[in-house]
Amino acid sequence: MTRRWESLRFASAISGLSHASRRIVSLFVAALREVFDESAYSRYLQRNSLTPSRRSYAEFLGENEQAKARRPRCC
């Protein structure tokens, strides 16, 4: 009984750990996507019901050019 209980606890700990690491990785990737404007492009596609293409990306760049160029980079 004790051994079974321990193996259950071990399995639950492993599952918790894997869930936590998956969450960390997904958050990290999400942060990178936001920093690199990939999320902004996805939102643009969603907002305008478009599919990824050269044309839609060029339009996205056109829309964001001013904002991107005006964004200061800190010292």
Partner: protein
């Protein structure tokens, strides 16, 4: 967790923190391990975040978890987007982290490791983090308004004008100081020039890849760009070892300055997607990776600091830059402790992404702590070098002498032993012709970083690769600031000129683009040229001016924050922003005064001009005298701006506190957040 356990954990952090700070502060005459600085930093940040920022959140700002942020209320999927706090944290950190926290601490290491470390820790926990946090929160409560708009709303039109002038001056001075650092790092370095030159076609290739081949795949193209940059670093070694090819990439400081001025103009006038955006992505990618690697390298190598806690140069006679520990240590290290420039980021994109009001604490206060840690790492990188080596690299020829032997003798006479042969061996080890007189901070940082990396991975055999990786990393960082800063400056000038004649304000009208680009490039290019020609190294004049203008912006931000706190009826807590403000005013006024009026010709612009008038010679004497007077005028203008913003703020505070003006804060009206109920459900 049981309460008693929590208390025990925090007590342990306090004990470790006190022990580490005491070790750093009290050790004299014996070397200490760099890990003491890391432990002290982590303990200070942990305590500052857990207790001080919690106090500010609860008592001063009264963060309201039920109040909707502009990201929620104005969500348009474009500028305003409710975003996960960790994602915003990464975004904010990537925007605030620049070359400043790397260069400033390296220059300030001439005083020893102690002054810089203490200022970075105290300045960030009590000043910089607080500034970033409160400005972010106040911007969130005002629909993401910018700092200049908040200054105009809360202090008055004069406040807005001063903020505008401060931003323009900081951009111009920052750009010329940054460009000078690149010039000093790359002069007579074919390997460095080749690597950096290659980043331009790599960025253009990335731009074409993102736009034409794989639209929108920025991360993918950044990884590709990074691999190409590594190949360029490797190829640079072959270039430097092949004399016929090396000659194409070996330039003097003046030629490099001209190339950078032309590059700045081109980067400002070219389409954003072609050069600016991909370089920005590549730089961010390299920046985040390298900072992580450096932190890991320090922990793995656990290097010993060879620089003493305090050097003889605290009296103001230092070769790297002139001036006593107060105020110049606090001017030199701006970005790692408190940086006015951050207030522009905290009131720019970040407030429009914050999902819940209480997350401003983690993003604003927390990201600045991370930036401060970068400054601590830069201090470590500079202080692991033998002091003689540090001063040989970082001292201008005008101070230590032209020949390697003369420079080594001067530095050894100061008590920091170094020989010309040692420096020659080190230069060969890192693949350079010479390391003498490489002022500006970047080469010292690169040698220190290469030292740490080579101890962790690869040994001395790969020292040259690591050195040029570090140079590439810094130059990439700086050139990104140069690209973006020139363009931001151009837009600001266009906005202002648009009020005079409308077509000049049109950002798509090419004559206006070319004219305003030329104007902003000419402004920083002039100071860059002056810095390159300055026999004292240029950075001696430019970096303090940059520090003063950056702290001026911090003064504007803290004046805005203090005014809002008073208007919120929280005057009893006003010390939270008032104390850093008073400190910065003291530092900025003293530094500006000394830079203008000091009798020491190495420090005071006017006394240097007088000395040149009496005993100077050379064909460019009149130009050098004019430059000194111009620098004095710029420093004077900055002091006047500080005085004006302070007077305006004091007037506003007096009117509110005496009841002559209603204490009215211009916040967006309260709207309940739906996220709170969603989370409860």
């Amino acid at each position: 967790m049981p309460n008693i356990l929590k208390k025990l954990i925090w007590l342990t952090v306090v004990v470790f923190g006190v022990l580490a700070v005491a070790t750093i502060a009290l050790h004299r005459g014996e070397q200490i391990n760099a890990m003491w600085l890391v432990v002290a930093a982590f303990c200070c940040y942990a305590l500052g975040y857990r207790f001080y920022s919690a106090f500010i959140s609860a008592k001063v700002l009264a963060l309201d978890p039920n109040r909707a942020t502009p990201a929620e209320r104005l969500d348009n999927g474009r500028d305003f987007v409710p975003t996960n706090k960790w994602v915003v944290f990464g975004h904010h950190f990537a925007a605030i982290a620049g070359p400043g926290p790397l260069v400033g601490p390296v220059l300030a290491a001439q005083f020893g490791y102690l002054p810089g470390t203490l200022w970075i820790l105290a300045g960030s926990v009590l000043g910089g983090c607080v500034q970033d946090f409160v400005i972010l929160l106040f911007s969130v409560r005002r629909d993401g308004k910018s700092m200049t708009e908040m200054a105009r709303d809360e202090i008055g039109r004069v406040g807005g004008f001063v903020a505008y002038v401060a931003v323009i001056s900081i951009i111009v001075i920052l750009l010329c100081a940054c460009a000078l650092i690149v010039v000093n790092a790359l002069k007579s370095s074919p390997w460095g020039v080749f690597t950096i030159a290659m980043t331009i076609p790599i960025a253009v290739l990335m731009g074409l890849y993102i736009r034409r081949l794989r639209p929108g795949r920025v991360l993918e193209s950044s990884i590709l760009g990074f691999v190409l940059v590594l190949i360029a670093i490797w190829g640079g070694q072959w270039v430097s070892q092949t004399p016929s090819v090396a000659a194409w990439f070996t330039y003097s400081a003046t030629t490099l300055a001209l190339v950078i001025i032309i590059y700045g103009f081109a980067a400002s006038a070219l389409p954003v997607w072609l050069l600016l955006a991909p370089r920005d992505y590549l730089s961010t990618f390299v920046k985040l990776g390298t900072i992580g690697m450096l932190a890991l390298g320090i922990v793995v190598a656990r290097p010993t600091l060879h620089m003493p806690a305090l050097t003889r140069f605290i009296d103001g006679t230092g070769p790297v830059f002139a001036g006593t520990i107060f105020p110049f240590a606090f001017i030199t290290i701006a970005c790692g402790a408190i940086s006015g420039f951050h207030s522009l980021i905290s009131s720019g994109t970040t407030p429009k992404l914050i999902r819940r009001e209480h997350e401003t604490r983690m993003v604003g206060y927390g990201a600045m702590m991370a930036e401060s840690l970068v400054a601590i790492m830069a201090t470590i990188a500079a202080c692991v070098l033998q002091p003689g080596t540090y001063f040989a690299i970082n001292s201008p020829a005008g101070v230590v002498g032209q020949s390697p032997e003369a420079a080594a003798a001067t530095i050894s006479n100061w008590g920091f032993f170094v020989t010309a042969a040692d420096m020659h061996s080190l230069a060969q080890l890192v693949g350079e012709q010479t390391l003498f007189n490489r002022t500006g901070g970047a080469p010292v940082f690169a040698v220190g970083m290469a030292n740490i990396f080579s101890h962790s991975l690869g040994g001395q055999a790969v020292m040259a690769i690591w050195y040029h990786f570090a140079i590439m990393f810094e130059a990439l960082f700086i050139l990104t600031v140069l690209d973006a800063g020139t363009r931001v400056g151009r837009f600001m000038i266009q906005d202002a000129l648009g009020h005079i004649w409308k077509p000049l304000g049109r950002t798509s009208w090419y004559p206006s683009i070319l004219g305003t680009s030329a104007l902003i490039v000419a402004a920083w290019g002039f100071f860059l040229w002056q810095g390159v020609k300055d026999p004292l190294g240029g950075i001696n004049s430019l970096w303090p001016l940059f520090g003063i203008s950056n702290q001026l912006l911090a003064i504007v931000a803290l004046c805005v924050a203090t005014t809002i706190i008073i208007k919120m009826g929280k005057t009893r807590y006003v010390a939270v922003t008032l104390l850093p403000l008073v400190w910065l005013v003291a530092v900025t006024f003293t530094a500006s005064w000394q830079k203008i009026f000091s009798d020491d010709p190495r420090l005071g612009f006017l006394s240097h001009a007088r000395q040149l008038e009496i005993s100077g010679s050379g064909t460019d004497l009149a130009r050098r005298i004019f430059n000194d007077r111009l620098d004095a005028a710029v420093a004077g203008l900055l002091v006047i701006l500080v005085a004006v913003i302070l007077a305006e703020s004091l007037r506003e505070w007096t009117r509110v506190l005496s009841g002559r003006k209603e204490a009215h804060v211009k916040e967006a009206p309260f709207v309940a957040t739906r996220f709170a109920t969603e989370e409860q459900a």
